[in-house]
């Protein structure tokens, strides 16, 4: 049975008359990666600050591995690793010193902290820059240092605010593998991003945050059921001349099939409809080279929720 590493119930926080977080209720499972999805200004960072024990909620309650961070911040902090969206690095310290110092602040012995730093530098791929001052690191490298810093005390719960921003493609793949491994070890991982294609590849669950409130699962299911767009590309002709044969094979009006670069865009109400559509195209003898969802499920849901709010 899986238990929840992070629980938030009815959490609210405002700054003066700005209501950053209005009503957030979420659970993040142990051993899973949960994505926190929302547009800029939807309250993701404020929510993460409350989960990270830095900000007290105005109302509602938070549990980090069963501990209330407002009542017992020290116990919560021992169990959580937080990676902020703003990259703060001590410019004149080396990457190694940064991790060791953070480890010392988590009460690790000097030797343990040293060993842990060497291991983490390896894991996040900063071995070559281990002894260079942090100020010479690029944005992506600082991001990796921030991740190593968050992991130094082997936390049960990880809160990552935009961890992939500034990372190159290889580093993103490495991050994905690292996060999957950390989750497989039974940790709870909550990460926020507004780059949905990226989240799609790593998350098990998603929590949608719109204007400071979490979106109910019913609304999400409903959004996921809406018509999605698929890209269709035929091998032997360009997009414009593909429209007519595709429309005939699917029994649609060619006027409703727009063209985007090399592809024809076709709407299907469900995955089942899409599968049937593909079968029809193949049966009609069309050389289908590509048949794929134009948007990921997260992106589709997200855009639908966004649209619903406007």
């Amino acid at each position: 049975m899986t238990t929840a590493g992070i629980v938030a119930r009815g959490v609210r926080r405002s700054f003066g008359d700005v209501h950053a977080v209005r009503d957030v209720t979420l659970e993040a499972r142990e051993g899973a990666v949960t994505g926190l999805v929302g547009p800029n200004g939807s309250g993701k960072t404020t929510l993460l600050l409350m989960l990270a024990s830095l900000l007290a909620p105005d109302a509602g309650e938070v549990r980090i591995a069963g501990v209330d961070p407002v009542a017992d911040p020290a116990a919560a902090r021992a169990m959580l690793g937080w990676m902020p969206d703003a990259l703060g690095a001590w410019g004149s310290l080396t990457a190694r010193e940064t991790i060791v110092t953070t480890g010392r602040l988590y009460d690790l012995d000097r030797e343990v902290a040293q060993r842990r730093a060497a291991q983490l530098l390896q894991e996040v791929g900063l071995v070559e820059l281990a002894d260079a001052p942090a100020r010479v690191l690029s944005r992506g490298q600082k991001q990796r240092l921030g991740l190593a810093r968050a992991l130094v005390h082997d936390p049960r719960v990880l809160l990552l605010d935009e961890p992939a921003s500034g990372l190159d493609p290889q580093a993103r793949i490495d991050l994905r593998l690292l996060l999957r491994r950390l989750a497989a070890e039974g940790r709870t991982i909550l990460l926020s991003s507004h780059i949905l294609s990226e989240l799609e590849e790593v998350v098990d669950d998603a929590v949608f945050l719109v204007q400071g409130s979490t979106v109910s699962s019913d609304r999400i299911a409903e959004a996921a059921r809406r018509e999605r767009t698929w890209r269709v590309r035929l091998a032997d002709r360009d997009a414009v001349s593909s429209v007519l044969p595709v429309a005939q094979a699917l029994g649609r009006d060619p006027v409703h099939l727009p063209v985007d670069r090399r592809d024809v865009l076709v709407g299907f109400a469900s995955d089942g409809d899409a599968a049937a559509g593909l079968a029809a195209l193949v049966t009609a003898g069309l050389p289908v080279a590509e048949f794929s969802a134009a948007t990921g499920l997260l992106e589709h849901t997200f855009l639908d929720l966004e649209g619903g709010n406007r």
Binding site: F15, L49, A52, S53, L87, G88, G91, R104, Y106, P133
Partner: protein, 358 residues
Amino acid sequence: MSFSRLWTISRLELLQRVRTVSWYVLLGVFALLLVGVTGLAFLSFSGMDERGPGIYSTVVYITLLLVLLVSPTLSGNSINGDRDAATLAPVQVTLATTGEILLGKFLAAWITGLAFALVAVPFLAIATLAGGVRPATVVISLAVLVVETGVIAAIGVALSGLLARPLFSVATTYLVVAALAIGTVIGFGLVGSSITSETTERYRSAVYGDNGPECIEGVVNCWDEPESMICEDWTTYTSRTGRYDFVWWMLAANPFVILADATPTHFDRYGNPEDMFGYLKISVRQTQIPPQLERTYDECGTAAEPTYPTPEEVLAQTVPSWFVGLGVQVLLAAGLMVWAYGRTRTPARTLARGTRIA
């Protein structure tokens, strides 16, 4: 409170400091300044029996002045500067408590200020070689210097936790230091001179002829014989004198006065203080003595001339105030630190306008 975490935070601050070039430039400039000051002090105290105390006290005063001038810059942005650089929250999210963070930063700022005192040590040693410097003077003056450095460091760190903008908190720290070092003197001067009492001065002179004072009949020469002089009538002047004896306590919290007042004073064979501490101490203590409101100058009478107490008598008649002044400073610094603790605590309930946690 974990000493290991506290020291990790201090060490982190100090490491960043020692790795900046500008820090060494500042210490170098200070050393050069002290070369000049020590050289000039040797020249200016050359008339004394023993030059050591004068030179020593001058170097200590210059060091205190420099610490007062530089400390606010070194400590006045330690918390809000970190917040701006987004390096505060990653520390707050560790096991380091708010108290450890504040005290760690305070300790680092104190040690940084003491580095200036350390640069002054060779010059103090040279002054001691000139002879006559007493061990008690060295111990007490350096102890006061160390405590003063700590007070300024604490005020700077606390204000950086209270105010959102680094520039503003550094400026405020400077204002507090200026209030103590200059404001006390200005307040003393203005308030003391605006409270006045009427002073009556009676004066009678002898009648002078071509050959000195005119004498009563039968006496040819009455130099030094007031009873044989012919006297003019009494003249009376009235004027108003400032009552500095009502406001002398305003100077008690002045760092320079504290340093002077705390250090024991010794006198040379002419009855003058041996060092700069002594001179300042006597002038400040003097203000505790009420002015004489009726003064009589009688050139041809036998009435006693008004007398002025010697420096030693001044010290005997007046009370020391350094511990009160230092106590006020320590309370101010501690109070600000406690206030800053409330403002920096996490999980934060209220945030200052325009600030963010991370």
